[in-house]
């Protein structure tokens, strides 16, 4: 039985794709056979972040419409043997994602022996997003520490617990909260919500706080999921989050402002 993990948020630009890539890579690193699927039909950027954009021949929609087999469309990651990517189509229309078609692809992936299927959900509550939510066993809710993002996440949680397959069958989707783009200095100044505030509003178990970091942009420009960057705070924080998702207990890091030491002040500071 494969576990479907949907990465979602409601709002765009909060870090869903960055997080999907990191979580999928983290699960694969931990030894689990994992596939990550881009549900953002029409935009398609998971393949860029995974550094496989030039290897995309067939995509998710091709498989659903029977134009290609799953084997033809799956892209094996070059760094992690346990990891595969299923890209989204850049051109096809969103209605191509039918419930039946998506369900069949997920079933086939499970039969192929994948343990985790990570779904990168698009923003909003349209087709791609609802399809990604529909089949979720676990949902990772990505939220930025600001009011509008938190409110959208709350709304998505409501949809998740009423519209998902699990909910309709009387069960519950497991919820995990991931706060991204966290800037402890701005939290201290009161410019951003604190992680405590966010948890208080959403009442969902927190699996990680990812700091705002230049390493994220660098990682996506070079096509290497940031979790594979051991020198980056964001990478380490994603590592912790995946470990917590898998049940490990780890203390939160990078949640207090960096002390500006004498050296860094003299040398100009920075990340």
């Amino acid at each position: 039985m494969a576990t479907v993990v949907t990465v979602t948020s409601g709002k765009g630009g909060v870090g869903k794709t960055t997080s999907s890539a990191a979580i999928a890579a983290g699960l694969a690193q931990a030894g689990h056979r994992t596939v990550v699927i881009d549900f953002d039909v029409g935009l398609r950027n998971l393949d860029l972040i995974m550094g496989v954009e030039r290897r995309v021949v067939f995509d998710f929609v091709n498989v659903i419409s029977g134009e290609a087999t799953l084997n033809q469309a799956l892209i094996q990651d070059k760094r992690l043997e346990n990891l595969s990517i299923l890209a989204a189509s850049q051109t096809k229309d969103k209605d191509a994602l039918t419930e039946e078609g998506v369900g069949q692809v997920l079933e086939q992936l499970a039969e192929m022996g994948f343990e985790y299927i990570v779904c990168d959900s698009p923003a909003g509550i349209e087709r791609g997003a609802t399809m990604a939510l529909h089949f979720a066993d676990h949902a990772v809710i990505v939220t930025n520490p600001e009011v509008s993002s938190v409110r959208d996440s709350d709304r998505i949680l409501g949809i998740l617990q009423s519209k998902s397959k699990r909910a309709k069958e009387g069960g519950k989707v497991h919820e995990h909260l991931l706060i991204t783009r966290y800037d402890p200095a701005r939290v201290d100044n009161g410019e951003m919500l604190s992680k405590e505030d966010v948890c208080d509003i959403l009442a969902v178990k927190l699996i990680g706080v990812i700091p705002e970091s230049k390493a994220v942009l660098k990682a996506s420009n070079t096509g290497v999921p940031v979790i594979l960057d051991d020198d980056a705070d964001a990478g380490l924080a994603y590592g912790d989050a995946v470990a917590r998702f898998l049940g490990e207990d780890r203390p939160m890091r990078f949640v207090t402002p960096k002390k500006q030491g004498l050296f860094s002040r003299i040398l100009g500071g920075g990340d």
Partner: protein, 225 residues
């Protein structure tokens, strides 16, 4: 393919009762909008002029509602105003067609004992509506901002209540609201409501009980031990 269908759904629609000898309507509406701006923008209203109102007066009232951005969906009251509703493209809501819940053979006393409570586990999220028909509602856990919980009976929230709460929604004036942590957007009892801006400050985040004073038709707030 799904066929279109007509369903009975519940929306909260308020009736604006407008007696002939009342203070000028426009002024009164402006005050309401100042008191609870968000609320007034969101409610749907049916205007009930009195028999003596002239068409011109009603038309002026409709214009004021429009200018204040209050959503008017129709007219009700004396059937002599029906032609005006038609003329203005508004719905006519016949006063004879008001549904009194429950629609049982013999009309039930609204203050009679009800079924056992509907118990739901929170969090009740933004955008979600819960309605306990003919009974009390108990929420275990939080109610998020943007959620709506309603009951014909009492409403109890064993958690943080940040959404909209309505008790006695079919007119039960003895219904009450009980919250462990009281931070609602709106509370309403038997149709009498108030927005968060009208809630006494010392009650914010406290354990609060809300009732309705039948004489003054005002909400009463009390701290619970």
């Amino acid at each position: 393919m799904m066929a279109p269908r007509i369903r009975a759904n519940r929306y909260s629609v308020m009736t604006l009762e407008w007696p002939k000898d009342s203070e000028p309507l426009e002024q009164w509406l402006k005050e309401q909008c100042d008191k609870a701006p968000a609320l007034m923008q969101e409610i749907a209203i049916v205007l009930k002029p009195s028999l003596e109102h002239e068409s011109e007066e009603i038309q002026a009232a409709i214009d004021s509602l429009d200018q204040l951005g209050i959503g008017l969906i129709g007219l009700t009251g004396d059937s002599s105003h029906r032609a005006l509703a038609d003329e203005m493209g508004l719905a006519w809501l016949s006063p004879n067609n008001v549904t009194v819940e429950p629609q049982s053979e013999k009309e039930r006393d609204v203050n009679q004992p009800r079924e056992t409570a509907l118990v739901v586990e929170g969090p009740i999220r933004s955008g979600v509506q819960v309605y306990a028909k003919d009974r009390d509602l108990i929420v275990i856990g939080q109610v998020s901002e943007g959620a709506e919980i309603m009951a014909d009976g009492h409403v109890h929230v064993y958690g943080r209540c940040r959404g909209r709460v309505a008790a006695g929604v079919s007119g039960q004036t003895n219904a009450e609201i009980f919250c462990l942590t009281f931070e609602p957007e709106l509370v309403s009892l038997a149709g009498t409501y108030c927005g968060s801006d009208q809630i006494p400050e010392n009650l914010w985040s406290a354990r609060v009980r809300v009732g309705l004073d039948e004489n003054s038709q005002k909400l009463t707030f009390g701290l619970m031990g």
